[in-house]
């Protein structure tokens, strides 16, 4: 289990992280969300022991992160690089060795990753000859070649085309199934919604919201109700719902933002009583909306 216990990090007069805290169970997939400059990368670097927190603590399985425990961590940083002159196979093997792997295990793992990521054709070519997407796959293999217990991925999908993004998602599912704890940061909310069981949203170096998607949604104060057809009769029942607010729609439906505690069954019954209803949806907020709300922004 990874515990990030109210960590703080400052660089001179700049406070990068003020108070970030969360806990990740073994084998979980965790989304670390926040706008640029929120402190995500600094938090990740502290988890990995690259930076030392100025306050708070980070514990892995109940103990402070040490060089020994770091051997079981993997990291794909947002700013990614590669040894251009090294061959793909050599590059992945080097990172395996840096994590304490030995032959013949390393050879087998390298071969497995090359095969799994579809890099067989390029295995013995210098990395500089690969496309950006394929270089990124090599970097993923470098980060995970040693079968880490904890894998931290900072914007893993940026720069990947949809096909390669799907490959990466499949690989992450496999790693999760094998018991690897995953920490992901991404601005692609739909991908995180698909992958992650829990989230923390940070902004200005501090927690803004945390929990499972269901927990985050349950804490959301409103829901959106979508009704068709768009007739005046069907608007009338919303007047009796306290706090209901009409939203603009142009697709032949009516949308209202209503309090989350609204009795949706009673509302549907009142709608059906005044006119025929062809569509009724009580829409849960998306992760994207929750994120924007948490960081205090609204979609343009």
């Amino acid at each position: 289990m990874l515990e990030v216990d109210h960590v703080r990090k400052e660089f001179g007069s700049v406070r990068a992280v003020g108070d970030v805290h969360f806990r990740i169970e073994d084998g979980a997939t965790f989304g670390l969300l926040g706008p640029n400059g929120a402190g995500k990368t600094t938090t990740m670097r502290m988890i990995l022991g690259i930076l030392t927190p100025d306050g708070g603590a980070i514990r892995w399985n109940g103990a402070a992160v040490t060089a020994r425990s770091r051997r079981h961590f993997g990291y794909l940083p947002e700013e990614r690089g590669i040894y251009g002159k090294l061959k793909v196979r050599e590059q992945i093997a080097y990172f395996g060795k840096l994590h304490g792997m030995k032959e013949p295990a390393i050879g087998k793992r390298v071969a497995w990753w090359i095969e799994r990521l579809g890099l067989g054709v390029y295995a013995d070519r210098p990395c500089s000859e690969l496309s950006k997407g394929n270089q990124q796959k090599v970097q993923v293999a470098c980060a995970a070649v040693h079968q880490p217990q904890l894998l931290v991925l900072d914007e893993p999908f940026s720069g990947l085309d949809p096909v390669n993004a799907e490959t990466l998602i499949a690989v992450l599912h496999e790693l999760k199934a094998a018991g690897t704890t995953l920490v992901l940061s991404s601005h692609q909310m739909w991908q995180l919604e698909e992958l992650c069981g829990e989230f923390v949203i940070i902004a200005g170096g501090a927690n803004r919201a945390a929990g499972t998607l269901a927990e985050l949604r349950s804490a959301w104060p409103t829901r959106v109700v979508r009704v068709a057809p768009a007739s005046d009769e069907l608007r009338a029942p919303f007047a009796s719902v306290a706090g209901a607010r009409p939203l603009a729609r142009l697709d032949g439906t009516i949308e209202y933002e209503v309090p989350a505690a609204t009795d949706f069954a009673a509302l549907l019954k009142s709608l059906v009583a005044v006119a025929p209803v062809t569509r009724f949806e009580a829409i849960e907020p998306s992760l994207h909306e929750i994120y924007l709300h948490a960081i205090g922004e609204t979609a343009a």
């Binding site: 060089a67 990291y75 690089g81 002159k85 840096l98 994590h99």
Partner: protein, 407 residues
């Protein structure tokens, strides 16, 4: 930690050995050494003209003249008196023919040459002067040598060398080794710097630092550079020794008349000097390359390497010149003081050890101070490297670097 250093060392070593820069360095350096070892002979030939001659004249006279001329000329044949023409020279692959004629109390010489302008009359005169004196004085060679030699005795106040020839030879060899020291430290420190800059600018640094402790990364990289530098040095000195020619060296000693001749090196280089050279070479290289590596971690573009390298080179270049001066005045106060100062001492102390008897306490003191300085440099460089490798964007101010060092 050790395993990480070994892994980084091995990877760095193999990467650098296979690199074009290393190969070019070895090839150009080796060619340079061969050129330097052969240069005296080539210069001698270029400036003194063709050396192949034939001697013509009475056997007795030629037997006396030949040893004197053989010091500067290659005698292709000794022929009885005869007319000389082009065919005679061509037949013996000679550029000129020295025709001797014996007289009552003297001899005369006619030189037949393809290029009369290349015949160095004063030089020939000087070489044959003892022979002329023997004839004029009716004296034997020993007597003439006695008459023409002023008895000068050089008494060495230093117990390091028995005579001036050995002292000159040692100075020549020390100068050469000092030049190697300078070149290898500069080349390899900049290679380490380039390697760090490559990892920083290619953005692989963060992935590396997440995988291995930055200190292990830095140590493996610098140790690989040091081993490669030693390898390079062994190749250069080996090639120099193998190609060392007996002609025109810096040393005057007959057995050590070339700075690269094995006999010459063994004659004046003691095991102590070899140990001192290796010790200060390794310490100097580690000090300089560690500093270079730390500062390379602060740059964002490889184009910025030049502006960082310039100021860092100043102490190295300064140390080299002080060390050269110390070869002439090894016990001068400035040389003694400089031989304790970190970054400068590796050059100056070696220089002093090569040509004088440095008291043991000075050697040990310098070694201790420089090892302590190396430790401090490693700690400071580790701090800068750890922060610098993650620092992108605006280059840090000196005050920020100082703050990191104090942290």
């Amino acid at each position: 930690m050790i395993a990480d250093i070994v892994t980084v060392f091995t990877a760095e070593f193999l990467r650098r050995v296979k690199s074009r820069a290393f190969m070019i360095g070895i090839v150009i350096g080796t060619l340079g050494i061969i050129f330097i070892t052969k240069m005296p002979a080539l210069l001698d030939k270029a400036f003194n003209g063709p050396n192949e001659i034939v001697l013509v004249g009475d056997r007795a006279l030629l037997d006396r003249a030949a040893p004197l001329l053989a010091k500067s000329y290659t005698i292709e044949a000794e022929l009885p008196p005869q007319a000389i023409d082009e065919a005679t020279l061509r037949a013996h692959h000679a550029s000129s023919a020295f025709v001797f004629t014996q007289h009552a109390r003297s001899f005369s010489l006619e030189v037949y040459a393809h290029d009369p302008g290349a015949v160095e009359v004063p030089r020939i005169n000087r070489m044959l002067m003892p022979l002329a004196l023997q004839d004029a004085l009716h004296a034997d060679a020993a007597r003439v040598k006695q008459l023409t030699t002023v008895p000068i005795a050089i008494k060495s106040l230093s117990s390091k060398f028995a005579n001036s020839a050995d002292a000159n030879a040692a100075r020549g060899i020390a100068y050469t080794l000092l030049f190697f020291l300078y070149m290898l430290i500069l080349i390899n420190s900049q290679l380490v710097m380039g390697s760090v800059a490559e990892e920083k600018t290619s953005r692989i640094a963060e992935l590396l630092i997440a995988s291995v402790d930055p200190s292990a990364l830095l140590a493996g990289k610098i140790l690989a550079g040091t081993v490669l530098a030693v390898l390079q040095m062994v190749i250069w000195i080996g090639v120099g020794t193998a190609f060392g020619s007996p002609a025109g060296g810096a040393a005057a000693n007959a057995s050590s008349d070339n700075i690269f001749s094995l006999a010459g090196i063994l004659n004046v280089i003691t095991p102590g000097v070899v140990i001192a050279f290796l010790a200060f070479f390794v310490i100097g290289l580690l000090q300089v390359s560690t500093i270079f590596a730390a500062f390379a971690s602060l740059i964002n573009r490889t184009e910025d390497l030049g502006s960082v390298t310039g100021p860092l080179l100043i102490p190295v270049v300064g140390a080299f010149f002080i060390a050269i001066a110390a070869l002439g005045s090894p016990d001068a106060p400035f040389a003694v003081v400089a031989s304790f100062v970190p970054l400068i001492a590796p050059f100056v102390m070696f220089s002093r050890i090569a040509v004088s008897n440095v008291p043991l306490w000075q050697f040990a003191g310098s070694l201790a101070i420089n090892l302590a300085a190396l430790y401090a440099i490693a700690i400071g460089a580790g701090k800068i490297y750890r922060v610098g490798m993650l620092l992108y964007g605006r280059a840090p101010k000196l005050s920020q670097v100082w703050a990191v060092l104090r942290s």
